[in-house]
Structure formats: C-alpha cells, structure tokens
C-alpha cells in the first residue's frame, strides 16, 4: 500500500506529461495575430452582453489585427436576419448570438452551427481555460456531441422586491409559491398605489417566467411523448400565474415583456417583480433602487425549487468562409479576462473562477443588493433547469401556445381547463410534426 502510494505521484506525472506538453506546445504555437488583415462579421443581439462587450471592440482589433464588422439588432430582428442569411446558406454572418434553450435544437438540426468543440482543444489560447465554464451551460449548448456555442452569461428570472415597502407593511418575502398570492394581497391593501406583483404577460415572452412556476409546482411540459400542460400541476401553475397577474399585476400586463417590467420597477411602481437577472444593471440604472431592493429566487413550490436557468452563447456559422478568424473573436469575447471585465458591469459570469475573483467580490460587496443578486444566481446555477417551453425542435412555436393558454385565463376568455386543453391539442399536433 505504501509503495503504491509512493509511486502514485510518478504515475500521475507520467499521465499528465502528455497533456502538459500539449498545453505548452499550444502556448508556443498560439498566435493572436494569425489572422491579421482578415474581416469577420458579427450578428449581435442588442442586449446588455453585446452592448458591453462591443465597447472593447478596438482592443480585439488591436490584439488580432482582424477587422470586426458588427450588425446589431433587437432580439427578434436579429433572428429574422439570421434566418434569412442561414436559409440562403450565405457567408454574410460569421458569428452570431444564440439562445441554446430556445433555438439550439432547431438550429443544430438545420446544421447552422459550426461545432466549436475541436477549436476549444486544438486552437485555443493557453489562458482560455475552456474547462472553467459552468458544465451545465456547456451541456445546454451541446447537441449530439457538438458544441454549438460558447456560454456568455448565466441568467434566469428572479424575484426583485422592495424592502422598504415590505417593512412598512410588516411583511416578509413569500416563502412558498402559494405564499406569493397572500403576500400580494397584503401589499395590495397596504400599498394600493403600487403594483403588488408583476411578471411577463406577452405570450411569446411569458414561458421564460412561467416555466419556473410550472417546474416549482412539480409539473413538466411533456410526459410520455405528449403535452402535459393539463396535468394537475400544469393547471395549478397556469391558474396561479394568471391569477397573480390578473389580481395583483399592472393594467395592460398582457403586453408586458422585460422592457415594461424593468421600467415599472425602476420607477418604483411595483413591490414585487419577477424578471430576468439579466435586467439587473438596467433596474439599478439611476440608483433609485440600489438601497431599497432585495433579490431572491422564486420560492419553492410543491415540487421543490427548479429555477429557469439559461445563458446566451456565441456561435460560429456553419456557412462562415472564415471560421478560424471567427473563433478568435469567440474566444476573446468569452475569455476569463473579458468575462471578468463584463462581470463588473453586471453581466453574470458563466465561469466559477470569475465569480470568485477578488475584484468581482469587491464589486459585489459595495452594495447588499448585488450580493443578493449573486446569491440568487448561485442558486440558479446550482438548481436550475434550462427547459423553457417544449424540448422539441419547434420550441419557439411551443412557447406561443403556452403563452396563449395563460393569456386566455388572464383575460378571462377561457377557464383553466379549456385553455390547457386547447394548448395541449395544438402542442400535441406540433410534437407529432417533429
């Protein structure tokens, strides 16, 4: 036993030597200027990650000598442009932002993604540290063994609430899913001028927040290959979500997406707002909410706590005529150094090492609300599921039917049974078309 213990370091060294030699060789071979003089095009979603990273565009161009052309659009318009370009198999776009939880399966099946896994091992800068990414996010971006994109952030819906209003009303934040209604009812009585509870109501945007209710309730979108929205858990989730918005939400909530939720909360008009962790910098803009906000994950329900956790990723087009240079941008934009910079501007890092970086820790400690945000993000990373909508190729269309079912109950045009039955019928037809 002792002898075997003595030989263990030697054995380990022998095993690690080729890997270490590979890394040294890569370090010697890797050249940031290898594609100097080339031009690549990046199709960006005009969201906080892209707007922040593009502030450093000049640094990338100086480091690599590559010219970066940027096409920046709002999310829907970006997808529309991408669809046109990809259907034409055009090389107009080299790099694009993608949401694996939404379109990953669809784009992968269409063959639109370049598999980035070989690049991470064969053509990465020595400091890149691909293994430093959250394994869950890497797995969420991997389809049939191909890495479709490199994680850029970690995000999910969180419950932002006003500590001053809760204190004034003598309330504690809800401790269970069902408890949200009770707290909202008390808030409505105590602070009638405020919206007690706000969340997404716009049909295609709503599944992002609703999914967390469904999963915490113990429900699932599919069971035995069929739509499962009309399960007891599904019906309870629809009923709770719709009634919270109907009874305690803002007027016009049926058209609410992230934009309106952020505006409402930042203006101090809602007491509880269930919205994206990604909106944290925008919510805190102006500083009015820095002192009076706390952030927690959605309380657990009968099925436990299964928060929605997703992340944007950076992908290289299968039709790019310059995938090598495009990969240089991907690794620069998702490098530990860049992600550490972005973290200090409120972009939740998808790397554990960045999250524990002293600079980031110091930034978090400046404001208690930042610490709440980070703790909630850790809960997302630990417990999260990326299932938003149906796990099928036609995921975007499935989200529409979920949204319509909740909207029908919210607007009072259908009962829960009618709404979920209509949705199940449409969703089963969609699943059958796969």
């Amino acid at each position: 036993m002792r002898s075997s213990l003595k030989t263990l370091p030697t054995l380990a060294a022998a095993l690690l030597l080729p890997a270490a030699w590979g890394a040294v060789a890569a370090a010697q071979e890797f050249d940031w200027k290898a594609h100097e003089g080339e031009t690549i095009t990046f199709l960006a979603n005009n969201n906080p990650w892209a707007t922040t990273v593009l502030k450093y565009k000049d640094e990338f161009e100086a480091l690599t000598g590559i010219t970066l052309r940027v096409d920046s659009y709002q999310e829907q318009q970006m997808r529309q442009r991408l669809l046109t370009v990809m259907n034409a198999r055009s090389d107009e776009v080299d790099i694009f932002m993608t949401l694996p939880s939404r379109e990953g399966m669809q784009f992968a099946a269409a063959g639109w993604y370049e598999d980035l896994l070989p690049y991470t091992t064969e053509n990465a800068a020595p400091e890149y540290d691909f293994k430093g990414f959250s394994p869950a996010l890497v797995e969420a971006a991997t389809f049939d063994g191909a890495l479709t994109g490199v994680p850029l952030n970690i995000e999910g819906p969180l419950l932002y609430y006003r500590t001053d209003v809760f204190e004034k009303c003598g309330l504690n934040p809800p401790e269970s899913l069902a408890g949200i209604s009770e707290v909202a009812a008390e808030l409505k009585k105590c602070a009638p001028d405020m919206t007690a509870f706000a969340s997404r109501g716009l049909a295609p945007a709503l599944p992002y927040t609703f999914s967390n209710f469904l999963h915490n309730m113990g429900g699932s979108y599919m069971a035995d290959g069929k739509s499962n929205l009309c399960s007891e858990e599904g019906k309870k989730a629809i009923s709770l979500y719709a009634s919270l918005l109907k009874d305690y939400g803002p007027p016009g909530v049926v058209n609410y997406s992230f934009y309106q939720l952020t505006s409402l909360y930042r203006e101090g008009r809602s007491a509880m707002s269930f919205q994206s962790s990604n909106e944290f910098p925008a919510v805190m803009e102006g500083g009015a909410r820095l002192e009076d906000t706390a952030i927690v994950p959605l309380p657990a329900g009968e099925g436990g706590s299964h928060p929605t956790t997703i992340g944007w990723a950076l992908a290289v087009s299968q039709f790019s005529s310059n995938p090598e240079a495009a990969w240089y941008f991907v690794q620069w934009a998702s490098s530990p150094e860049m992600q550490a910079k972005l973290a200090l501007e409120g972009i939740a890092p998808p790397r554990n090492a960045v999250a524990s970086d002293p600079d980031y820790q110091a930034w978090l400690e400046e404001q208690p609300v930042r610490q709440h945000w980070q703790e909630a993000l850790e809960h997302l990373a630990d417990k999260g599921t990326s299932e938003v909508g149906y796990p099928i190729v036609q995921n975007p269309e499935s989200r529409e039917y979920i949204g319509q079912a909740v909207n029908a109950v919210l607007l009072g045009t259908s009962t829960v049974d009618e709404a979920c039955a209509a949705a199940d019928e449409q969703l089963n037809a969609l699943i059958a078309r796969e």
Binding site: A109, A110, G252, R269
Partner: protein
C-alpha cells in the same frame, strides 16, 4: 422620324439597367415566394414539393380566418378615419393660407417619422401604468383605459395611432386636389348665394372624388399590409386580437420556421391587396372628370 427613334432607343438604353434591376428586385422575391408556397418546409429547413397543401391548410385554419377578419376590420376603420380627418385637415389648411409655414409643417410632421419610432413612442404613451394617455384621462376625471392590452380596444387604438400618423399624408393629397379645383365654379356658387355647407357638400366633395379615390388607393396598399406598428406595440396580441394576416405570416415564417405556409399566406394577402387596388383603380377611372 429616324432621329426620334434614335433618341427613344438612347433613352431606353439609359433606363434599361434601372428597369431591369427594379423588375428583378420585385419579380425574384415574388416568384420565390410562390415557389416556396408549394413546398413543405420542415423546422430544420428541409424542403419537398407538397402541391397546394399549404393553400388547403388555410381553409381549416381558424388563425387564418381570424387574421383575415382583423386585417379588413383594421383596414376599414383606419381608412374611414384617415379620409374624414385628412379631408377636414386639408380644408382647414386650404382656408388658412396665411398660416405660417412652420405651423403648416408641424401639421404634416407625423408621417415623416419612421413607423418604428412612432410605434415605440405610442407604446410608452399608451402604457396603462406609466403612460401619459391614462394620466390625461384620469386628470380629466375620466376612467383609465387598457388601450393596447384589451382585445376589444386594441384594433380601434391601433387605427387611432395610424390615423394620427397618416392623416397629414391624406391631407396633403387632398390639399393638392383642392388647389386644382376651378375657381369659376366657386364664383358661380357665390353669385347664386350658396352657403358654405352647400358649397362643400355639392361642389367641393364631388369634385374631390377622384382625389379621394387616389388617396384611398395609396392608403389601401399600406393598410392591408399593416405591420410595423402592430409588431412594435403588441406583436399581434393580446390573445391574437391584433394578429393581421401580415403579422400571422411573419410569425409563421420567421419565428416558427414554417416557410412554406408563410409563403402561401403572403401570396394570398398579395392577391387580396392586388384585387382591392384593381377595383379601386376602376372606381377612380369611373369618377375621373
């Protein structure tokens, strides 16, 4: 004669590149859309010829019929509002000829705004919680409204916003028509002692009819393919209450990747627009004076 032919040939040669470019830019997308409307396109982009299945699918598609109804409801409501308000504004501007140019320019400024900007602006104004519209209503002691968030109100609200933006355009067309009316008819009416109302109803409006039909044709094309404002403000909601055929086609194609069916929807809409325009053109020829 030879010189004239030669000049014509030179002019044709000069115009040919732009004509070819324009025709190609119109013809290619149209022909491609027709072709794709006969294909079954899977979510992964695979295509196979599927005959008229996409067109047959429309017959039993409640969303299609809903979209058709909403398209024509919005079209009719907006058109009537814009013709009435545009004519009234043109008459006002025609009578107030001494109005300073800057004020006249302000009247016509809304249609200079890109529809996306107008959409964002009205989205903020009409927000039931944060917007100015409900603040004004409640300040006047009136009940707040749900504007774009109520299935019953969303179409009238969109029609009102579009009317705000495009009434000045109609007014400009009508103003042009007013300025071309023969003064002798008005002099005769004045000598006969006709009142202002009678002059308006029996002389001005009948003489303006060809101009009004022209305005109707121009606005019809835009209103039947109404898109930007709806997409920016409601994305077809709430509960599909503002999903016109154009919005439905767009979402089917660009969000749900059913390009074949989206092509069929768009061809159907194009045929409808063409039919309406041809019918209105015949009407315009009939009322021309």
């Amino acid at each position: 004669m030879d010189t004239s032919n030669s000049q014509r040939a030179q002019l044709a040669a000069l115009a040919a590149p732009s004509v070819i470019f324009t025709v190609a830019m119109i013809a290619f997308p149209f022909c491609y859309t027709i072709w794709i409307s006969f294909q079954a396109v899977s979510a992964t982009g695979m295509m196979r010829f599927d005959g008229a299945a996409n067109y047959a699918r429309m017959v039993n598609d409640t969303q299609f019929w809903n979209g058709l109804w909403i398209t024509f409801y919005l079209y009719a409501l907006s058109l009537v509002l814009q013709l009435v308000c545009g004519t009234a504004l043109a008459l006002l501007l025609f009578r107030a000829r001494r109005l300073p140019g800057i004020i006249r320019s302000l009247f016509i400024s809304p249609f200079m705004l890109p529809p996306v900007v107008a959409g964002m602006m009205w989205l903020i104004i009409l927000d039931p919680s944060l917007g100015a519209a409900n603040y004004i209503l409640t300040s006047l002691g009136l009940p707040p409204s749900n504007w774009l968030a109520s299935p019953a109100l969303v179409i009238p609200t969109l029609a009102l916003v579009d009317t705000w933006q495009w009434t000045p355009y109609v007014a400009l067309i009508v103003l042009g028509g007013l300025q071309s009316l023969p003064p002798s008819v008005y002099e005769a009416a004045e000598i006969d002692g006709a009142s202002r109302t009678k002059t308006l109803l029996r002389i001005t409006l009948p003489l303006l009819l060809p101009t009004l039909v022209t305005a109707t044709v121009l606005r019809s094309v835009d209103l039947l393919r109404f898109f930007d404002l709806i997409y920016i403000t409601t994305q077809g909601g709430p509960a599909n209450a503002s999903t016109t055929l154009n919005i439905y086609g767009f979402r089917t194609g660009f969000e749900f990747f059913q390009l074949g069916y989206a092509g069929a929807l768009m061809i159907t809409l194009s045929v409808m627009v063409l039919g309406v325009v041809l019918a209105l053109n015949r009407l315009r020829n009939a009322v021309a004076w």
